[in-house]
């Protein structure tokens, strides 16, 4: 593996980890859509800053982009607080304006520079190793690795440093405000961080796929976590895993690296969604069927118990009665009877069903528990 490839892989992991870190709080604050809005709005800042300094590598671009990101959030919240529009509509209203204006500006004034529309939408992580940082004649590796590394450190510093404050402001804004933790300031600090991260990731993965990296790994982690710290850790893990798997997929079938990374976040989410040991679809399905069988067997026992020794016993306590009166399908009645026989709750003679002493005790127990 060449050094360029290694640069790309490291950069992909750093981008994914940074996005996952701030994404955790977007998920928990139900602001997933904000990541989409910010990642599109930062383009306006990048374009405007570019016209100012005429240098695509200037740090002014990051500053300009961050300011437009936060400004977009501010405008959106102004719209929400006007109470004329709902939250989702307000978000959906502001960012397309920012984005479309920046597309027009690129069309009009920057047709011949590298800021082309494909790169804006999808990014080009494969080109990043070729822009190298050199100081005093020393080759220090790709510029984007340094920039993104700095952004990752910023994310780690923010999430660890303000761990308690972020948790309280996210969970219970009222208490946070009362205890003097300024939830509004924390909110805008987080929005600035999301903007900075979006700008940094923008160059590598583009405006659309950065959303996948910010939202999907934390969403997968959310399904598995019972504590905030676990959610943060898992989300970074899923982010890094997606970029590694994505890189190798892109390499072997020769497709876009950023696209593959985003696909992998989705694949991992699907995997967690189905196989999660506590909330997964599969375990719920199995649990449901087990419960249904157990519950139906109890119903059968109570039916037999209630009619035991009565005049109607000979007709009520039969297999055919289960099908006719209890409206069970023939197959399901068979399964339930087999379950009860296997557990030694009932005896069966031809069509006639009777309780064993164990079954009688169980029926008594169940009916007491339920009343």
């Amino acid at each position: 593996m060449g050094i360029e490839q290694l640069y790309i892989i490291i950069l992909a992991c750093i981008v994914a980890a940074s996005c996952s870190l701030c994404g955790v709080y977007l998920i928990l604050r139900r602001l997933a859509l904000i990541s989409d809005a910010i990642s599109h709005s930062v383009l306006l800042g990048i374009v405007c800053a570019f016209f100012l300094v005429h240098d695509l590598n200037s740090p002014i671009l990051i500053l300009g982009a961050t300011i437009t990101g936060v400004f977009m959030v501010f405008l959106t919240e102004l719209l929400i607080s006007s109470k004329r529009l709902k939250k989702d509509a307000s978000i959906g209203l502001v960012f397309p304006l920012f984005f479309s204006v920046s597309i027009l500006l690129i069309n009009l004034f920057a047709g011949d520079i590298h800021l082309d529309q494909d790169a804006v939408l999808l990014g080009e992580i494969a080109f990043t190793p070729f822009r190298l940082l050199s100081l005093w004649g020393l080759n220090l590796g790709p510029v984007s690795l340094w920039v993104m590394g700095g952004i990752l450190l910023l994310n780690i510093g923010f999430v660890l440093g303000f761990y308690k404050e972020l948790k309280l402001c996210t969970f219970d804004r009222g208490l946070a405000a009362m205890l003097g933790f300024f939830p509004t300031y924390i909110h805008y600090a987080l929005m600035s961080l999301v903007s900075v991260t979006a700008v940094g990731a923008f160059e590598s993965v583009g405006a659309i796929l950065v959303v996948a990296l910010m939202i999907v790994p934390p969403a997968s982690a959310y399904l598995l976590s019972r504590r905030l710290s676990h959610m943060i850790g898992l989300s970074v893990l899923f982010g890094i895993l997606s970029s590694l798997l994505g890189y190798f997929m892109a390499f072997y079938i020769n497709v876009s690296i950023a696209g593959s990374m985003a696909v992998m976040t989705g694949v991992l989410f699907g995997f967690v969604f189905i196989f999660s040991p506590s909330q997964g679809v599969l375990i719920k399905f199995l649990r449901y069927h087990k419960q249904r069988l157990r519950f139906s067997a109890n119903m059968l026992l109570i039916q037999l118990f209630d009619h035991e020794g009565t005049d109607t016993e000979k007709t009520e306590n039969t297999f055919s009665n289960l099908v006719i009166h209890m409206k069970w399908s023939y197959r399901f009645a068979n399964t339930v009877v087999a379950y009860a026989l296997q557990h030694g709750f009932i005896n069966r003679v031809d069509d006639y069903l009777s309780l064993t002493s164990l079954g009688r005790e169980k029926a008594r127990h169940v009916s007491v528990m339920d009343t």
């Binding site: 928990l28 440093g161 303000f162 761990y163 308690k164 404050e165 948790k167 309280l168 996210t170 969970f171 219970d172 009222g174 208490l175 405000a177 009362m178 205890l179 003097g180 933790f181 959310y222 976590s225 019972r226 504590r227 905030l228 676990h230 959610m231």
Partner: protein, 254 residues
């Protein structure tokens, strides 16, 4: 009722008016809450009960008026105040457990950046024990019943170790046993000469549970000891015509 001296009061509200847009929610409220009482804020829906509570705590900016707590502004008193929010104001699916939620009550004492210590954890466990939830300390919030969640939030208010408590409808959605447990603890706090202010709904339990009451319907109708304030005339002013309906149904309401 004799006039209260200012230094006998935990909370003094003067001429407080709160408005959303042009619509006043609270009009010219004057309220003095003495130290060491259990006070209920009572009134019909939309009377501004929660708004009054939140304005006293400095969470809402009033259009006019002044609030002082133990003779000072709220900003200087944040650690003398404990708060139990209304159900539904927090995210019950947040990835956290009961103990962690109670620990949040210590954050005000910790201030910025400092992490909770072993001593804070012990205080939190003690508080969970007091509300009878020690066995549930590692349960995730959404696995607790409504009553259990309320107890956890009461425990969180307890570890704030405050002199003045604000509770927004602590009895909503809890069963009779939990209600008794909660009121028992509130009375215990009062007996330790702490002040407890509760937004309450149930007129039937008012005189059993509380010493003081503030009748509110956008304006302050009356406040003072329950036995002085809870007159038919005051209730009619507070609830308007609907009070007749309440009285007629009283024997059948449990």
């Amino acid at each position: 009722m004799k006039d209260l001296l200012d230094d006998e009061c935990s909370v003094i509200v003067q001429d407080l008016t709160v408005a959303y847009k042009e619509k006043p929610v609270l009009w010219d409220i004057d309220l003095k809450i003495p130290k060491g009482v259990l006070l209920a804020i009572v009134g019909p829906n939309g009377a501004g009960k929660t708004t009054l509570l939140r304005s006293i705590m400095g969470l809402i900016k009033p259009a006019a008026g002044n609030v002082s707590i133990f003779g000072q502004s709220i900003k200087k008193q944040k650690n003398t105040i404990g708060y139990m929010p209304q159900r539904g104001s927090v995210d019950w699916d947040f990835p956290t457990d009961a103990l962690d939620v109670v620990m949040m009550g210590r954050y005000g004492h910790l201030g910025w950046f400092r992490r909770p210590t072993k001593a804070d954890k012990k205080l939190a466990l003690d508080a969970l024990d007091r509300v009878g939830m020690l066995d549930f300390s590692d349960r995730q919030l959404n696995q607790l019943s409504g009553g259990q969640q309320q107890r956890v939030f009461l425990a969180r208010a307890l570890v704030q170790d405050a002199d003045l408590y604000f509770m927004d409808e602590p009895f909503v959605g809890v069963d009779a046993v939990t209600e008794q447990a909660i009121i028992g603890l509130l009375k215990e706090l009062r007996n330790q000469s702490k002040t407890v202010v509760v937004v309450h709904h149930d007129l039937q339990t008012l005189s059993d549970y509380f010493d003081w009451v503030s009748l509110l319907n956008v304006r302050q109708i009356a406040y003072g000891p329950v036995k002085d304030v809870l007159t038919n005339e005051n209730l009619r002013t507070t609830y308007g015509g609907r009070r007749a309906f309440l009285m007629a149904n009283q024997p059948f309401v449990d």
